[in-house]
């Protein structure tokens, strides 16, 4: 899954070919990047005037799914942490938005961003708890934490107990105006989260994270601050889930503890990342679009839809572990985080590691 030269220097050497050339991206990236920009421009400037309000609301859900997938991928694909409890932060984000917008009176856009910060603020202390568990037990441990969040939320009368809360900040706002605002805001937020994740992975921190994922012991012996890196990813990924939760509450005008804290959010994240392609920036975008399309198309099937989803995820893990994007990658890379090394000559072979 990792780029073969993930630890190569980040700038190509300027000297003539006394060393192998290292490049990132290439013409494919520019073309792909241009296409991506075009899609965003279309979504921003054309789509809102061409489709119904219902479709716009549905697209808001797609943008939330991209954020969920991207941030879960940050945890699992780059941080090596499989969390089954990210619904904890979806829920925190949803409740925080409504409290901040209604009780505090913050403007909705500020309330969403603040909800992300609330998610981060809760994720930081929580990380000290769940980081005591490794691997698969980390996965279930995060789920327990999410259950605790849900049960505690239901105990608090101010949060509506078992029935949840509805958002009243938009009361009196024109419906068209509201949906359009939520749509543009969600689009901007999605673009920001994807770009932010991309920049994080390109940074020094990102390289360290890739090293941690690939071999934690070796990374720590090379001076990578393993725990700090993982904690940063956990907090950032959870903030992302909280942003998505806030968007969902903003779009659906309310939360209930049963649905906003549902493990199905994590199931969706896992499907999106696994099917799209784990450990890549593009994969979760592809996966989210696919999930969203399937959700629309298979809605008449009801519960069967989730049966199919689970089965597809299993099949992809076993048969195409790099996901749909992995099948296409190598040819295209819209967000180049890996480097390509072009060796000087055939004689520069790698040292043999046999005969130990």
């Amino acid at each position: 899954m990792s780029g073969p030269a993930a630890v190569a220097p980040s700038t190509p050497p300027a000297t003539p070919p006394t060393a192998p050339t290292v490049t990132r991206g290439g013409r494919g990236s520019w073309v792909g990047g241009g296409a991506m920009l075009l899609v965003v421009v279309l979504l921003a400037a054309v789509v809102p005037y061409a489709v119904t309000l219902g479709a716009l609301s549905s697209l808001v859900m797609l943008f939330a799914l991209v954020i969920l997938g991207t941030t879960w991928n940050l945890l699992a694909g780059y941080g090596g942490m499989v969390s089954v409890g990210q619904q904890a932060y979806v829920g925190v984000g949803g409740y925080a938005l409504i409290q901040l917008a209604d009780a505090v009176g913050a403007p909705p856009w500020a309330a969403v961003l603040a909800a992300g910060l609330v998610g981060a603020a809760i994720a930081l202390p929580t990380s000290y708890l769940v980081f005591r568990l490794a691997g698969g037990y980390f996965a279930i441990g995060t789920w327990v934490v999410a259950e605790v969040f849900r049960l505690v939320t239901m105990q608090i009368d101010g949060l509506g107990g078992g029935t949840g809360l509805s958002l009243s900040a938009f009361r009196g706002t024109d419906r068209v105006e509201r949906v359009a605002f939520v749509y543009w805001f969600a689009l901007a937020l999605m673009v920001a989260v994807v770009l932010g994740t991309y920049l994080l992975m390109r940074s020094r921190v990102g390289l360290g994270l890739t090293a941690i994922r690939d071999d934690r012991v070796a990374a720590s012996s090379l001076g990578v601050a393993v725990d700090r890196g993982r904690r940063l990813v956990y907090v950032a990924g959870s903030a992302g889930a909280a942003l998505a939760g806030a968007l969902i509450a903003l779009s659906t005008l309310g939360v209930t503890p049963g649905s906003i804290y549902s493990v199905n959010w994590t199931a969706a994240m896992i499907f999106i990342v696994v099917v799209g392609g784990i450990g890549t920036i593009e994969g979760p975008i592809v996966g989210a679009v696919l999930y969203w399309v399937l959700q629309q198309a298979l809605a008449p099937l009801g519960t069967w839809y989730l049966v199919v989803l689970g089965a597809v995820a299993v099949a992809v893990v076993l048969l195409a572990p790099r996901g749909l994007w992995g099948l296409a990658a190598g040819r295209y890379q819209l967000f180049p985080t890996t480097h390509h090394v072009r060796p000087l000559a055939a004689s520069a072979t790698v040292a043999p590691r046999t005969g130990r």
Binding site: V350, P352, R353, T354, G355, R356
Partner: protein
């Protein structure tokens, strides 16, 4: 007929050819030492014989039957038993449980628990200790005992001396001599030339994955082996880097 007959064996790791057309033959009761420097392909050869890394081409015959593509666990049941590099003792099992793992393939033969304890009295004293607390030499004795309990048709020993003190190595090779004296067919891979020459009937030297010297051990000139070891050409001997 030979117990073990290997022809044209080639083993690769990706693009790298680690064993490049090696042939060897082991007669009943014979002890062959495969020598060579680091990276010569010795361990890879053993891995291909034991089935832990399958060869890309060539054949391995055990008593005339092909076992080339058989996975490791099924080869053991046929009698090719490996004492791996690094010993690979089961840390959470006791010493006796480690030894009893040799009985798993249920092969009949002369070796039983008593005989192994007689050969390694120290191991008998530690039989209730966990594998993880043993010293390197103790681990190596347990690893050899464990393999013997499988009653091998061919015993493969990988770098018995690795990382051990010279006196411990000498003791272990004393045991190996007794094992070969019992008539067990043995293939030793070793970097320690003196120890290898003590137990071997014949010597085969590898360099860059190919055989560069085959000779009877008796009366073998140490310098001749050393030269082959490092690929030094002298007089009429063929240059191993050619061809």
């Amino acid at each position: 007929m030979s117990v073990l007959e290997v022809t044209g064996l080639e083993v690769r790791y990706g693009d790298l050819t680690a064993v490049d057309g090696v042939a060897l033959s082991l007669a009943e009761g014979e002890t062959l030492a495969v020598l060579g420097a680091n990276g010569a392909g010795k361990s890879t050869l053993l891995a291909a014989l034991a089935g832990t890394h399958l060869p890309t081409s060539g054949t391995v015959l055990l008593d005339g039957e092909p076992v080339t593509r058989l996975p490791a666990h099924r080869r053991v049941r046929r009698g090719i038993v490996l004492v791996p590099e690094g010993r690979r003792i089961f840390g959470s099992l006791t010493v006796e449980e480690n030894l009893l793992m040799g009985r798993f393939p249920k092969r009949a033969g002369p070796w039983h628990l008593r005989a192994v304890y007689d050969m390694f009295p120290l191991v008998a004293e530690m039989k209730d200790r966990r594998g993880s607390v043993l010293s390197g030499g103790q681990q190596q004795a347990v690893a050899i005992g464990r393999a013997l309990l499988a009653n091998p048709r061919v015993l493969l020993l990988d770098e018995v001396s690795l990382g051990l003190a010279p006196t411990v190595v000498t003791q272990l090779y004393d045991a190996v001599r007794r094992i070969t004296a019992e008539g067990t067919t043995v293939l030793v891979v070793e970097q320690d030339l003196d120890q290898a020459l003590r137990v071997a009937d014949r010597v085969q030297c590898l360099l860059g994955g190919r055989t560069v010297l085959e000779a009877q051990a008796a009366g073998l000139d140490r310098d001749t082996v050393a030269d082959a070891y490092f690929g030094i050409t002298r007089g009429s001997r063929t240059d191993p880097t050619e061809a």
